[in-house]
Protein backbone atom coordinates (compact mmCIF):
# COMPACT_ATOMS: atom_id res chain seq x y z
CA UNK A 1 0.00 0.00 0.00
CA UNK A 2 1.54 3.32 -0.99
CA UNK A 3 1.45 6.41 1.24
CA UNK A 4 -1.36 8.29 -0.45
CA UNK A 5 -3.51 5.16 -0.53
CA UNK A 6 -2.90 4.63 3.18
CA UNK A 7 -3.79 8.27 3.96
CA UNK A 8 -6.98 7.90 1.94
CA UNK A 9 -7.83 4.74 3.87
CA UNK A 10 -7.13 6.46 7.18
CA UNK A 11 -9.53 9.24 6.21
CA UNK A 12 -12.26 6.82 5.28
CA UNK A 13 -11.73 4.77 8.44
CA UNK A 14 -11.89 7.85 10.66
CA UNK A 15 -14.94 9.16 8.82
CA UNK A 16 -16.66 5.85 9.45
CA UNK A 17 -15.56 5.58 13.06
CA UNK A 18 -16.75 9.07 13.95
CA UNK A 19 -19.92 9.20 11.85
CA UNK A 20 -22.11 8.25 14.83
CA UNK A 21 -20.55 10.89 17.08
CA UNK A 22 -22.17 14.28 17.52
CA UNK A 23 -22.30 16.98 20.16
CA UNK A 24 -24.78 16.28 22.94
CA UNK A 25 -27.52 18.87 23.44
CA UNK A 26 -26.58 21.68 25.79
CA UNK A 27 -22.82 21.38 25.22
CA UNK A 28 -22.39 25.14 24.87
CA UNK A 29 -24.47 25.79 27.98
CA UNK A 30 -22.41 23.31 29.99
CA UNK A 31 -19.19 24.90 28.72
CA UNK A 32 -20.46 28.33 29.73
CA UNK A 33 -21.47 27.06 33.15
CA UNK A 34 -18.00 25.56 33.55
CA UNK A 35 -16.48 28.89 32.57
CA UNK A 36 -18.61 30.77 35.07
CA UNK A 37 -17.64 28.31 37.82
CA UNK A 38 -13.98 28.76 36.98
CA UNK A 39 -14.31 32.53 37.04
CA UNK A 40 -15.97 32.34 40.44
CA UNK A 41 -13.18 30.18 41.82
CA UNK A 42 -10.56 32.52 40.38
CA UNK A 43 -12.35 35.47 41.94
CA UNK A 44 -12.40 33.76 45.31
CA UNK A 45 -8.73 32.91 45.09
CA UNK A 46 -7.78 36.41 44.00
CA UNK A 47 -9.90 38.13 46.61
CA UNK A 48 -8.34 38.12 50.00
CA UNK A 49 -10.47 37.44 53.04
CA UNK A 50 -10.27 40.76 54.88
CA UNK A 51 -9.98 39.25 58.33
CA UNK A 52 -7.07 37.05 57.35
CA UNK A 53 -5.31 39.95 55.68
CA UNK A 54 -5.72 42.33 58.60
CA UNK A 55 -4.81 39.65 61.11
CA UNK A 56 -1.73 38.64 59.13
CA UNK A 57 -0.73 42.25 58.61
CA UNK A 58 -1.13 43.05 62.28
CA UNK A 59 1.07 40.11 63.18
CA UNK A 60 3.71 41.23 60.76
CA UNK A 61 3.70 44.88 61.73
CA UNK A 62 3.42 44.45 65.49
CA UNK A 63 5.36 41.24 65.91
CA UNK A 64 2.78 39.87 68.30
CA UNK A 65 2.98 36.43 69.79
CA UNK A 66 1.04 33.91 67.75
CA UNK A 67 -1.72 33.47 70.26
CA UNK A 68 -5.25 34.74 70.04
CA UNK A 69 -4.95 38.38 71.01
CA UNK A 70 -6.30 41.80 70.24
CA UNK A 71 -4.17 44.10 68.16
CA UNK A 72 -4.37 47.85 68.14
CA UNK A 73 -6.63 47.59 65.11
CA UNK A 74 -9.17 45.98 67.38
CA UNK A 75 -9.21 42.87 65.22
CA UNK A 76 -9.05 39.62 67.08
CA UNK A 77 -6.22 37.61 65.60
CA UNK A 78 -6.66 33.89 65.71
CA UNK A 79 -3.70 31.67 66.40
CA UNK A 80 -2.95 29.58 63.34
CA UNK A 81 -1.03 26.40 63.56
CA UNK A 82 1.14 25.28 60.69
CA UNK A 83 -0.99 22.18 60.38
CA UNK A 84 -4.16 24.18 59.91
CA UNK A 85 -2.91 26.17 56.96
CA UNK A 86 -3.97 24.74 53.62
CA UNK A 87 -1.82 25.30 50.49
CA UNK A 88 -4.30 27.77 48.99
CA UNK A 89 -4.83 29.68 52.23
CA UNK A 90 -3.53 33.21 52.60
CA UNK A 91 -3.58 33.03 56.39
CA UNK A 92 -0.16 33.00 57.95
CA UNK A 93 0.80 30.16 60.23
CA UNK A 94 2.10 30.97 63.69
CA UNK A 95 5.57 29.94 62.56
CA UNK A 96 5.47 32.35 59.63
CA UNK A 97 4.24 35.27 61.70
CA UNK A 98 6.90 34.67 64.35
CA UNK A 99 9.70 34.47 61.81
CA UNK A 100 8.57 37.61 59.97
CA UNK A 101 7.93 39.57 63.15
CA UNK A 102 11.32 38.74 64.63
CA UNK A 103 13.07 40.24 61.60
CA UNK A 104 10.73 43.25 61.60
CA UNK A 105 9.54 42.51 58.10
CA UNK A 106 7.04 45.14 57.06
CA UNK A 107 4.18 45.03 54.60
CA UNK A 108 6.21 47.42 52.43
CA UNK A 109 8.96 44.81 52.23
CA UNK A 110 6.49 42.19 51.10
CA UNK A 111 4.95 44.62 48.64
CA UNK A 112 8.35 45.00 46.98
CA UNK A 113 8.71 41.25 46.59
CA UNK A 114 5.20 41.05 45.21
CA UNK A 115 5.92 43.76 42.68
CA UNK A 116 8.99 41.87 41.60
CA UNK A 117 6.74 38.90 40.75
CA UNK A 118 9.10 36.56 42.51
CA UNK A 119 8.10 32.95 42.95
CA UNK A 120 8.46 31.34 46.40
CA UNK A 121 11.39 29.36 45.00
CA UNK A 122 13.11 32.56 43.89
CA UNK A 123 12.54 34.13 47.30
CA UNK A 124 14.18 31.13 48.96
CA UNK A 125 17.13 31.36 46.63
CA UNK A 126 17.26 35.07 47.28
CA UNK A 127 17.56 34.41 51.01
CA UNK A 128 20.63 32.29 50.38
CA UNK A 129 21.99 34.88 47.95
CA UNK A 130 21.58 37.68 50.50
CA UNK A 131 23.43 35.72 53.15
CA UNK A 132 26.27 34.97 50.75
CA UNK A 133 26.40 38.57 49.57
CA UNK A 134 26.63 39.72 53.15
CA UNK A 135 29.56 37.41 53.75
CA UNK A 136 31.29 38.80 50.68
CA UNK A 137 30.60 42.40 51.75
CA UNK A 138 31.93 41.75 55.24
CA UNK A 139 30.04 40.76 58.36
CA UNK A 140 28.37 43.75 59.95
CA UNK A 141 25.43 42.00 61.47
CA UNK A 142 22.24 40.90 59.86
CA UNK A 143 20.97 44.47 59.81
CA UNK A 144 23.32 45.36 56.98
CA UNK A 145 21.84 46.68 53.78
CA UNK A 146 23.40 45.41 50.59
CA UNK A 147 23.91 47.12 47.28
CA UNK A 148 22.35 45.78 44.11
CA UNK A 149 25.83 44.95 42.83
CA UNK A 150 26.56 42.87 45.90
CA UNK A 151 23.36 40.93 45.59
CA UNK A 152 23.75 40.59 41.85
CA UNK A 153 27.15 39.04 42.33
CA UNK A 154 25.65 35.98 43.92
CA UNK A 155 22.06 35.88 42.78
CA UNK A 156 21.45 32.78 40.72
CA UNK A 157 17.69 33.01 40.58
CA UNK A 158 17.37 34.60 37.16
CA UNK A 159 16.22 38.01 38.31
CA UNK A 160 15.53 40.61 35.70
CA UNK A 161 17.17 44.02 35.77
CA UNK A 162 13.86 45.52 36.88
CA UNK A 163 13.55 43.05 39.71
CA UNK A 164 17.07 43.77 40.89
CA UNK A 165 16.42 47.49 40.73
CA UNK A 166 13.27 47.10 42.82
CA UNK A 167 15.27 45.12 45.33
CA UNK A 168 17.86 47.87 45.51
CA UNK A 169 15.27 50.54 46.24
CA UNK A 170 13.71 48.40 48.95
CA UNK A 171 16.77 48.64 51.20
CA UNK A 172 15.95 45.36 52.84
CA UNK A 173 18.30 43.95 55.37
CA UNK A 174 19.81 40.50 55.26
CA UNK A 175 17.74 39.46 58.25
CA UNK A 176 14.55 40.62 56.61
CA UNK A 177 15.04 38.84 53.33
CA UNK A 178 16.22 35.72 55.11
CA UNK A 179 13.16 35.79 57.33
CA UNK A 180 10.89 36.08 54.32
CA UNK A 181 12.65 33.15 52.72
CA UNK A 182 12.46 31.16 55.95
CA UNK A 183 8.75 31.90 56.36
CA UNK A 184 8.24 30.08 53.07
CA UNK A 185 5.30 32.24 52.04
CA UNK A 186 3.09 30.86 49.32
CA UNK A 187 2.41 32.93 46.22
CA UNK A 188 -1.14 33.54 47.52
CA UNK A 189 0.13 34.79 50.87
CA UNK A 190 2.64 37.07 49.23
CA UNK A 191 -0.02 38.45 46.93
CA UNK A 192 -2.33 39.06 49.87
CA UNK A 193 0.19 40.64 52.18
CA UNK A 194 2.01 42.59 49.51
CA UNK A 195 -0.90 44.97 49.24
Amino acid sequence: MNESQMIEDVRSALDDATSHVSAPPGLAERARAGGRRRLTVRGLLAGVPAVALVAGAAFVVHGSAPAATSASTGVVMPAHSAASSSPGSVQLTSYQTTVLAKAHVTLANLAVLKKMHLTPVQIKALGVAYRTAQQIAGAEGTGKQLTVAQIASVVKVKLTVAQLAALGYANMTVAQIEAIAKADLTAAQLAALGG
Partner: protein, 171 residues
Amino acid sequence: MRQQRLAAFEEFAQVNGDALIRLSFALCGDRGAAEDAAQEALTGVYLRWGRLDDPLPYARRAVVNATNDQWRRLSRRERRERAVASRPPESPALLDDVVADRDRLMKALRRLPYGQRAVIVLRYWYQLSEQETAHALGNSAGTIKSQASRALARLREELRSDLLPASPEEY
Protein backbone atom coordinates in the same frame (compact mmCIF):
# COMPACT_ATOMS: atom_id res chain seq x y z
CA MET B 1 -23.13 43.72 24.41
CA ARG B 2 -22.98 40.72 26.75
CA GLN B 3 -25.92 39.14 24.95
CA GLN B 4 -24.14 39.56 21.62
CA ARG B 5 -21.04 37.96 23.08
CA LEU B 6 -23.03 35.03 24.41
CA ALA B 7 -24.85 34.61 21.12
CA ALA B 8 -21.58 34.58 19.21
CA PHE B 9 -20.14 31.95 21.54
CA GLU B 10 -23.31 29.84 21.27
CA GLU B 11 -23.05 30.00 17.50
CA PHE B 12 -19.40 29.01 17.59
CA ALA B 13 -20.17 26.05 19.86
CA GLN B 14 -23.07 24.98 17.69
CA VAL B 15 -21.11 25.18 14.45
CA ASN B 16 -17.94 23.54 15.77
CA GLY B 17 -19.21 21.30 18.59
CA ASP B 18 -19.63 18.20 16.43
CA ALA B 19 -16.23 18.61 14.79
CA LEU B 20 -14.48 19.09 18.14
CA ILE B 21 -16.09 16.00 19.67
CA ARG B 22 -15.27 13.96 16.57
CA LEU B 23 -11.68 15.13 16.75
CA SER B 24 -11.46 14.04 20.37
CA PHE B 25 -13.19 10.74 19.61
CA ALA B 26 -10.79 10.08 16.75
CA LEU B 27 -7.94 10.57 19.19
CA CYS B 28 -9.21 8.51 22.09
CA GLY B 29 -12.06 6.33 20.82
CA ASP B 30 -14.16 6.99 23.91
CA ARG B 31 -17.43 8.87 23.62
CA GLY B 32 -17.54 10.05 27.25
CA ALA B 33 -13.95 11.24 27.27
CA ALA B 34 -14.51 12.98 23.93
CA GLU B 35 -17.53 14.89 25.24
CA ASP B 36 -15.63 15.89 28.38
CA ALA B 37 -12.65 17.05 26.34
CA ALA B 38 -14.81 19.07 23.95
CA GLN B 39 -16.63 20.68 26.86
CA GLU B 40 -13.32 21.50 28.52
CA ALA B 41 -12.06 23.06 25.28
CA LEU B 42 -15.22 25.11 24.83
CA THR B 43 -14.97 26.29 28.43
CA GLY B 44 -11.49 27.57 27.62
CA VAL B 45 -12.82 29.29 24.51
CA TYR B 46 -15.65 30.86 26.52
CA LEU B 47 -13.20 32.25 29.08
CA ARG B 48 -11.09 33.80 26.33
CA TRP B 49 -13.93 34.83 24.07
CA GLY B 50 -13.24 38.30 22.71
CA ARG B 51 -9.51 37.95 23.18
CA LEU B 52 -9.06 35.28 20.51
CA ASP B 53 -8.75 36.47 16.92
CA ASP B 54 -9.74 33.07 15.63
CA PRO B 55 -11.13 30.79 18.34
CA LEU B 56 -11.06 27.59 16.25
CA PRO B 57 -7.28 26.90 16.35
CA TYR B 58 -7.35 27.53 20.10
CA ALA B 59 -10.30 25.15 20.49
CA ARG B 60 -8.55 22.45 18.46
CA ARG B 61 -5.43 22.72 20.55
CA ALA B 62 -7.47 22.63 23.74
CA VAL B 63 -9.30 19.51 22.55
CA VAL B 64 -6.04 17.72 21.76
CA ASN B 65 -4.63 18.58 25.19
CA ALA B 66 -7.84 17.84 27.10
CA THR B 67 -8.24 14.49 25.32
CA ASN B 68 -4.71 13.54 26.29
CA ASP B 69 -5.37 14.57 29.89
CA GLN B 70 -8.71 12.77 30.07
CA TRP B 71 -7.27 9.62 28.63
CA ARG B 72 -4.20 9.59 30.84
CA ARG B 73 -6.38 9.70 33.95
CA LEU B 74 -8.01 6.38 33.10
CA SER B 75 -6.41 3.06 33.95
CA ARG B 76 -5.42 0.75 31.09
CA ARG B 77 -8.31 -1.56 31.88
CA GLU B 78 -10.79 1.31 31.86
CA ARG B 79 -9.39 2.49 28.54
CA ARG B 80 -9.89 -0.91 26.93
CA GLU B 81 -13.39 -1.32 28.34
CA ARG B 82 -14.50 2.14 27.35
CA ALA B 83 -13.00 1.84 23.88
CA VAL B 84 -14.88 -1.40 23.27
CA ALA B 85 -18.12 0.09 24.61
CA SER B 86 -17.73 3.13 22.39
CA ARG B 87 -17.51 1.14 19.18
CA PRO B 88 -20.63 0.98 17.07
CA PRO B 89 -22.31 -2.41 17.23
CA GLU B 90 -20.85 -4.90 14.80
CA SER B 91 -23.12 -5.91 11.99
CA PRO B 92 -22.95 -8.68 9.41
CA ALA B 93 -21.51 -6.03 7.12
CA LEU B 94 -18.29 -6.33 9.09
CA LEU B 95 -17.63 -9.36 7.02
CA ASP B 96 -17.32 -7.06 4.09
CA ASP B 97 -13.66 -6.66 3.19
CA VAL B 98 -13.71 -2.90 3.06
CA VAL B 99 -15.27 -2.60 6.51
CA ALA B 100 -12.89 -5.19 7.91
CA ASP B 101 -9.93 -3.26 6.49
CA ARG B 102 -11.13 -0.04 8.07
CA ASP B 103 -11.58 -1.76 11.39
CA ARG B 104 -8.04 -3.10 11.10
CA LEU B 105 -6.77 0.37 10.29
CA MET B 106 -8.53 1.92 13.27
CA LYS B 107 -7.06 -0.69 15.59
CA ALA B 108 -3.61 -0.03 14.17
CA LEU B 109 -4.10 3.70 14.52
CA ARG B 110 -5.06 3.32 18.15
CA ARG B 111 -1.91 1.38 18.88
CA LEU B 112 0.19 4.41 17.89
CA PRO B 113 1.57 6.68 20.63
CA TYR B 114 -0.74 9.63 21.31
CA GLY B 115 1.50 12.19 19.62
CA GLN B 116 1.79 10.22 16.38
CA ARG B 117 -1.92 9.45 16.36
CA ALA B 118 -2.68 13.13 16.84
CA VAL B 119 -0.44 14.07 13.91
CA ILE B 120 -2.18 11.58 11.62
CA VAL B 121 -5.64 12.66 12.73
CA LEU B 122 -4.97 16.39 12.41
CA ARG B 123 -2.75 16.36 9.35
CA TYR B 124 -4.45 13.74 7.20
CA TRP B 125 -8.01 13.42 8.45
CA TYR B 126 -8.60 17.02 9.52
CA GLN B 127 -6.40 18.08 6.60
CA LEU B 128 -4.70 20.85 8.54
CA SER B 129 -1.51 22.33 7.13
CA GLU B 130 1.79 21.55 8.81
CA GLN B 131 1.66 24.99 10.44
CA GLU B 132 -1.86 24.47 11.75
CA THR B 133 -1.04 20.99 13.01
CA ALA B 134 2.05 22.38 14.69
CA HIS B 135 -0.06 25.00 16.43
CA ALA B 136 -2.59 22.43 17.58
CA LEU B 137 0.10 20.21 19.03
CA GLY B 138 2.40 22.94 20.32
CA ASN B 139 5.29 21.83 18.11
CA SER B 140 7.26 23.28 15.23
CA ALA B 141 6.28 22.59 11.63
CA GLY B 142 9.54 20.71 11.15
CA THR B 143 8.73 18.39 14.03
CA ILE B 144 5.29 17.74 12.59
CA LYS B 145 6.78 16.82 9.24
CA SER B 146 9.13 14.26 10.76
CA GLN B 147 6.47 12.99 13.19
CA ALA B 148 4.02 12.50 10.33
CA SER B 149 6.56 10.50 8.40
CA ARG B 150 7.37 8.35 11.44
CA ALA B 151 3.69 7.91 12.26
CA LEU B 152 2.88 6.65 8.77
CA ALA B 153 5.82 4.25 8.85
CA ARG B 154 4.71 2.97 12.24
CA LEU B 155 1.14 2.62 11.02
CA ARG B 156 2.34 0.56 8.08
CA GLU B 157 4.28 -1.68 10.48
CA GLU B 158 1.24 -2.05 12.69
CA LEU B 159 -0.87 -3.06 9.74
CA ARG B 160 1.73 -5.63 8.73
CA SER B 161 1.72 -7.18 12.18
CA ASP B 162 -2.03 -7.03 12.32
CA LEU B 163 -2.43 -10.78 12.24
CA LEU B 164 -1.27 -10.79 15.84
CA PRO B 165 -3.95 -10.31 18.52
CA ALA B 166 -4.61 -6.71 19.63
CA SER B 167 -2.00 -5.52 22.05
CA PRO B 168 -3.07 -4.72 25.61
CA GLU B 169 -1.49 -1.32 25.00
CA GLU B 170 -4.22 -0.47 22.52
CA TYR B 171 -5.41 3.01 23.41
